[in-house]
């Protein structure tokens, strides 16, 4: 890792416990999503964040309520971390009418404007310029909102990434680009097809931004770099690029066993699993075993309830099909 800074994370233990709870919730939710996929209840595709939870939790904890998140198709974690309840997210995966978008978006497009989750985008790189636009709007209206845009290492090689970085830097926009570098695209190692070792951080320098690489499996470290970047953005100092090193525990998407990855690499990263690491640290820093067990049990109960509620959700009706193409609520293109 390029940086040796010691990260202490949030000052309050209570905040750290919240951040632990968030990571545990993301872990248990994704595990349940996977199980429901095996039961053939999750249709279509889905991309889990198992192993990458510290990034979503660290950022969401550092962000203000009215900041904006822009996520990718690997967006369950970022959606939940901003406070969206589990039931509508799970129901959306199941294609039910009580889903977050009543089944019209699916796993790859989770959106909750109410929670500042401004969409999950499934075309690689598309949302970087869109996040710039939201940041422009905050700048223009003089609010102190910040747009935080998450994407993968593979997404650094598409044109819109480069357009967005230059644009954000030139306009000094309050936007934070966060590369979740899990080393792999779908089935190809990103360094095999990329001209630099750190695909986001090394490129950031070319756009006049600081080179920031952080341990993405350490929620405190993520929280700290997020806080610094958010403060910069709010102070009008412009965009930041953060490359957070992490690893996905499973395959790229639901059907992928991830067999192309060397066993030693997988073992190395499982040893760096962010959740046991954070748990041990909390115990060191004064949390009690009972507190942590209670959090874990509480989350488990929440996942059970969400599962039951999602499964009990209705099948979306035909009335939804032709709704909301246009602002008038309909889909008519002629008179």
């Amino acid at each position: 890792m390029a940086t040796t800074t010691v990260h202490s994370g949030p000052t309050e233990l209570a905040t750290k416990l919240d951040m632990y709870r968030s990571q545990v919730a993301l872990r248990q939710f994704e595990t349940r999503a996977y199980d429901l996929f095996l039961e053939n209840l999750v249709k279509g595709t889905s991309h889990l964040s198992l192993g990458q939870e510290a990034i979503a939790a660290g950022f969401a904890t550092a962000m203000k309520k009215d900041d904006w998140t822009f996520a990718t198709y690997r967006g369950h974690a970022h959606t939940l971390a901003r406070g969206v309840p589990m039931t509508p997210v799970l129901a959306e995966l199941l294609g039910r009418s009580n889903g977050l978008m009543a089944g019209k978006g699916g796993s790859m497009h989770l959106t909750s404007v109410e929670h500042g989750v401004m969409g999950s985008y499934a075309i690689i790189g598309a949302h970087l310029p869109i996040a710039c636009g939201a940041a422009w709007s905050a700048q223009y209206r003089g609010t102190d909102q910040v747009a935080v845009c998450f994407f993968g290492d593979g997404s650094t090689n598409i044109g819109s990434f480069h357009e967005a970085l230059n644009f954000a830097a030139v306009w000094k926009l309050p936007v934070i680009f966060v590369c979740e570098n899990n080393l792999w695209m779908e089935y190809t190692r990103t360094t095999e097809v990329t001209s630099v070792v750190h695909p986001a951080a090394d490129r950031a320098v070319a756009y006049g931004l600081e080179r920031i690489v952080v341990d993405g499996n350490d929620a405190d470290a993520v929280y700290d770099v997020a806080s610094t970047a958010l403060a910069r953005a709010r102070a009008g100092e412009g965009p930041s690029m953060i490359e957070a090193m992490t690893y996905r525990h499973g395959g790229h998407s639901r059907a992928d066993p991830g067999k192309y990855r060397p066993d030693e690499e997988v073992a190395e990263w499982f040893a760096k699993d962010p959740i046991p690491r954070y748990r041990a640290r909390l115990l060191d820093e004064g949390a009690s075993e009972e507190q942590l067990v209670a959090i874990e049990a509480d989350v488990a109960a929440e996942v059970e309830v969400a599962t039951e509620e999602a499964k009990a959700g209705g099948i979306p009706g035909e009335d939804l099909l032709m709704k909301d193409v246009w602002a008038d609520g309909g889909s008519s293109w002629r008179n």
Partner: protein
């Protein structure tokens, strides 16, 4: 009353809306001090300042992406894509992101934005700066598509597009930029989805769009001299489409000729032909005929380009031949 060019009408329509609504902002390449390569934004930087009128890098994805992000968070951006051919480099954001996101999010998001662009041929710019791309935009669910044919309509339809809560692709026929017209003073606001009947005749109905409208009018005049009396309908907006006016006017004469600048395949006239034959087939007295640019990339040489794009002469001969068949 003032005489305005089509390009001046663009700036006037935008300025009218910027004065009444602070959330209207502009972005694009060379639109500020330079006033746009086609001079559609002249004077706007001076009146509204650099915070509302912003030059961008040559980054079409960033331009329309930023417009989208700004629109979803409360602004009413107007983005300029210099030549409509360049939509091809940012079409993902237009077709996959802007157009689909309201639907995908179950109505959580709104995209009140306008993307203006210089469209079509006639300036001898060659294949990459001349295509009429209205059919690209028309086929995407979630996009409105507006194509004015004169300065007065530019102002009113621009105002309506800016006020509309849906994304509008606003295509400006480059060949019309210098056309002039008397325009009344004061606020002008039109409605999207209303075709205009510009001339009424009893024998045939010419349905035209954008730069083809003045040609259809000239052709109608020549045809009248030879005894073929034509109605001319200016479609003005492809989405929403004013089918009721078009069906009424085609039904009244019993013949429809579309005049389209887009290359032949999947042009808007194809869709219109299908609607007319499904809904008023028994009111037709003869075949529907489409007069279009052939299915080719546009050539640069003036002689060749003139052969490709429907001309007054081609309209006259095609209509005459078909009416006398």
């Amino acid at each position: 009353m003032a005489q305005l060019t089509f390009r001046e009408a663009i700036a006037r329509g935008i300025a009218q809306e910027m004065r009444r609504d602070e959330s209207v902002v502009l972005l694009g390449e060379d639109i500020g001090a330079a006033g746009g390569v086609f001079k559609g934004t002249v004077g706007l930087l001076d009146e509204f300042g650099g915070v509302r009128v912003r030059d961008t890098p040559i980054s079409e994805q960033a331009i329309v992406g930023a417009a989208m992000g700004a629109a979803m968070t409360g602004l009413r951006p107007i983005a300029e894509i210099m030549f409509s051919d360049f939509f091809a480099v940012c079409w993902d954001i237009v077709a996959n992101e802007i157009a689909k996101s309201r639907y995908m999010t179950n109505g959580q998001m709104s995209f009140p934005l306008v993307i203006r662009s210089g469209n079509g041929g006639g300036l001898r710019f060659g294949a990459q700066h001349s295509q009429s791309v209205e059919n690209w935009a028309m086929m995407i669910p979630g996009l409105k598509v507006v194509v004015p044919s004169n300065a007065l309509d530019v102002i009113g339809l621009m105002a309506a597009s800016i006020r509309d809560d849906d994304p509008v692709v606003f295509l400006e026929a480059k060949v019309l930029y210098s056309s002039k017209m008397d325009v009344p003073d004061g606020e002008i606001v039109d409605t999207l989805g209303s075709a205009k009947v510009l001339r009424t005749g009893s024998d045939a109905t010419l349905v035209a769009l954008g730069a083809m409208v003045p040609k259809a009018l000239d052709a109608a005049q020549e045809l009248a001299a030879s005894g073929i009396d034509c109605t001319v309908v200016d479609v003005r907006s492809l989405v929403p489409l004013d089918t009721s006016t078009i069906l009424r006017e085609v039904g009244a004469t019993g013949r429809m000729f579309t005049v389209e600048e887009n290359p032949r395949l999947c042009g808007w006239g194809g869709e219109l032909s299908s609607i007319v034959s499904e809904e008023i087939f028994y009111d037709l007295d003869g075949p529907i005929v489409r007069i279009t640019t052939p299915h080719i990339p546009l050539p640069a040489a003036d002689a060749l380009e003139d052969m490709a794009i429907p001309s007054v002469e081609r309209i006259v001969t095609t209509v005459t031949k078909s009416m006398n068949a």
